[in-house]
Amino acid sequence: MNGTLKRASVACLLMFGLLMININYLQAVKADDLRTDSRNTRSFFARYQNERGMITAGGETLAKSVDTGAANTFRFQRKYTDGPVYAPVIGFFAPESAQGIEGAENKYLDGTHPDLFVRRTVDLITSKPTRGAAVDLTLVPKAQKIAYEDMQKSGKRGAVVALDPRTGAILTMVSLPTFDPNTMAAPDKSKAAKVYNKLDKDDNKPLLNRAISTTYAPGSTFKVVTSAAYLSEDSSRDANTEVDAPNVLPLPGTNIGLPNYHGESCGGRATLLDALTISCNTAFGTMGLEMGYDKLKEQAAKFGMGQPMSIPLDVVASDIGPDEGKAALAQTSIGQRSNQITPLQMAMVAAGVANQGKVMKPYLVNKIVSPDNEDIDSTRPQELDEAVTPQVADELRKMMISVVQNGTGTAAQLPGITVAGKTGTAETAKGAASHAWFIAFAPAEDPKVAVAVFVESGSAGNDATGGAVAAPIAHDVMQAVLGQ
């Protein structure tokens, strides 16, 4: 019987072998899937087990984890200060999802990032609980709050973005309407889901970060890009170069014409400076037709349009639209037609001009700080592209100063500081209210802040213009940044 007993032993060995292979498969190969399965409540507990890093900006704590003392279940809960003001940037940390910085920098915040490996190991050995690293943002709280209040007080929808033109640091990013991330912070899946679904279905789209997640017709603010392309095309051109500026520009291939705003006249011919100051549509239409689609597209790309970015939040690509013929090109040149741009991208246009033509890569995270206050990583400013030469930037600066001093953007003037800017009023549909835009930078001689204000159509009355509605907000934001 020993022969069959030995075979039975082999069978037993085989059974144990199979069991061992199977648990290896489950606990090593498939472990991550099982761990992260949404039905696994453990990952839900684990989300609240460790002290999540703070999110700070300019010395203020915007988000922190509070110890509730409930060991082994939902120990740490997230609390947000001024939730609605920062929500578009910070996002939220809900039971099953995280958005904004909470999502994008999650690995640092929850302490699982490879950079924190050594710390984690030390914690493990000394049996200290793992803590996440803090994320310090580039936002300037004072400017952020004033931008939010200016928009919110008058019930406007839209976005405000301010950049440091020298580095690309994002100083302000506000989007309205917004939400309070505290409402989704409780470890209650169904409650958080209810709040989220309500926000998601809201027609005013409070979850949408209007500064980066969607594009709008830029209107006349785009004339800065058209001017940049026109000046760069021929180095003999400057702010005083004259172009045709008829009362109505016939659109080639159609029987309609491109009029000026409210049918005003630009006097037949105008210098670039005058054309931008009074925002003469026909002059820029003419420039666009003279240059052709490719030149305009190329210039737009140099400012950063045409590709998505990560700041580290995802920024959708801005685009001047496809080449649809001459009539379309004239409209594209004044920021209409299929020309669709994010407020952040328009702020980058202003910042590029301000920074002598160099566009810096925008970023939100200033630095990552370990739980014991050591800097783990800090963002080094990077140049994205040279949009225009310093000479062209100088001419554009002159033209934009004139807009604020003598033209449509006088509401953005700051006492004792030269401001350069451009207004925009973009038609969205025939008869519908327009989007109001304003882009600016200051001080014009040594720019420290560049800003784009976007007010969505219909939220600021029916004849909202960039000069009347958007420029005052830019004024307050620039003042807050410069006065800090």
């Binding site: 007993l5 144990f16 199979l18 409540t41």
Partner: protein, 459 residues
């Protein structure tokens, strides 16, 4: 020449000292694990650590002395290995008691462990020669069958968690099936020893397979009917699979005919398939096995994969090193104190702990099979082989079930799951193995005088 022959008979060492050291080691591991639970749950070494540790240590010391006196030649490794698994089971139940105090009770389990050790000792003391069991072959068969159908009796039987495998005696519930398992293995061994020649030799050859005669199929068919009967009447898939598998394995060992295995497997697959079609609770297990993570199966109220998936989630969350004792969430796994104790252990001790645990089980089984191979008579060989196999087979069925290697059928994890009947039965099983190991390893009586050219041979 003849003097050399006498010296060539291998002398097995008793290794009692080694056994004592390993026993102490096993108890030490259990005590450290016990302290770990306290440190993991509330940062303190539990107050009862010394009581529990010394209690377990004292019990095992007693078992050691009984072995030293009544089975001195027995395998020294078996008792420490069983102590380790039983102790870890106690620790896990203590840990689960912290999370779900209503369901798990470590002090009860310690009491049953003590009773188990008593049964172990009593078996060793009373049963001086296991071959006495061979004379009780048919008695054992009737007792086994009787115990199996006991829960079906109207007043005695109780249905718990959907399976009617319990008998209420006074305040206790016992699972007679656990003891039936032992009686039936004794019966199989005795019966097969008597009939092995006819089962092995008679028959005809067809398609390279030696088919048995129709009338020799009788016992196979009866066992099959009993297994399927248990499955249907008591809704106990686990025991049914356990008994049938053990019988087929023993039949194969006794007759050396592969055809029995094939016939057995075909019969079982056929039976299981028909049962799957006829009984929804069997069919549900198959659905869940094939597609455990399906949301529809997870959500359904009857026969859902919820329990299985919670166990798998626990194991997945434990990963390679585990969360550490006291730091997982065994309360999330239904039945974590009984059928799913393996999954709960996997969460806290991780892959590393489970591999070690399976290794310990494999070693116990291997020591048992070694005893079978070393045994000197066919009955001992079959009994030791059958008992070892049924232990391995039980671990395979329940661990394979909770890890979704095979469809889940409820069975206790030997020496770990909470429950007195299984613990007592398994301690008796170990006592039988120890008894046979003692007989197998005991050196043959030395010749009083030189017997000249008498041939000495080993079996």
């Amino acid at each position: 020449m003849s003097a050399v022959d006498v010296a060539a008979v291998p002398m097995t060492a008793k290794r009692r000292g080694a056994q004592l050291v390993m026993l102490a080691f096993a108890v030490a591991i259990v005590m450290v694990a016990y302290a770990n639970v306290g440190l993991g749950t509330n940062g303190q070494v539990p107050a009862g650590m010394l009581t529990y540790g010394l209690g377990l240590g004292g019990l095992m010391l007693a078992a050691y002395f009984v072995m030293a006196k009544f089975a001195p030649w027995a395998d020294p490794l078996v008792l420490p290995l069983v102590t380790l698994v039983n102790g870890l089971g106690l620790v896990m139940i203590y840990r689960i008691e912290q999370a779900t105090p209503k369901l798990a009770s470590a002090s009860n389990q310690l009491f049953w462990t003590a009773l188990g050790v008593v049964m172990f000792s009593v078996t060793l003391i009373v049963l001086r020669d296991h071959r006495a069991l061979q004379r009780m072959t048919y008695t054992a068969g009737f007792v086994g069958l009787g115990l199996l159908i006991l829960p079906l009796l109207p007043l005695l039987g109780k249905e718990i968690n959907g399976a009617r495998i319990w008998v209420g005696v006074g305040g206790f519930s016992i699972q007679p099936g656990e003891f039936a398992k032992l009686a039936l293995v004794v019966f199989f061994a005795g019966y097969l020893v008597a009939k092995r020649d006819v089962l092995a030799l008679a028959g005809r050859r067809l398609l390279m397979i030696d088919l048995p005669r129709a009338r020799d199929l009788g016992p196979v068919l009866i066992t099959w009917v009993v297994s399927v009967g248990v499955l249907v009447m008591e809704k106990d898939l686990g025991t049914s699979l356990l008994l049938f598998g053990a019988f087929i394995a023993m039949l194969y060992v006794a007759t050396q005919r592969t055809s029995w295995v094939l016939i057995g497997v075909l019969l079982f697959i056929g039976g299981a398939f028909v049962a799957g079609q006829l009984f929804s609770h069997v069919g549900a297990r198959f659905d869940v096995w094939l597609n455990p993570s399906s949301q529809a199966l997870y959500d359904r109220t009857f026969g859902s994969s919820y329990q299985l998936m919670q166990g798998l989630f626990g194991m997945g969350s434990g990963g390679i090193l585990g969360t550490g004792l006291g730091q997982g969430h065994p309360n999330l796994i239904p039945l974590s104190f009984s059928d799913f104790i393996f999954a709960a252990t996997g969460e806290e001790l991780g892959l590393t702990g489970l591999m070690a645990l399976l290794m310990v089980y494999a070693l116990i089984v291997e020591r048992g099979l070694r005893t079978a191979i070393a045994a000197r008579d066919p009955f001992s060989k079959l009994l030791a082989g059958g008992l070892s196999f049924i232990l391995a087979w039980q671990v395979f069925i329940i661990v394979g079930g909770v890890t979704n290697l095979i469809p889940l059928t409820g069975l206790v994890t030997p020496f770990m799951s909470q429950g007195g009947s299984a613990l007592l039965a398994n301690w008796i099983l170990i006592a039988l193995l120890v008894r046979m190991s003692d007989a197998a390893r005991r050196p043959p009586p030395q010749a009083i005088q030189d017997e000249g050219l008498t041939q000495v041979f080993q079996r």
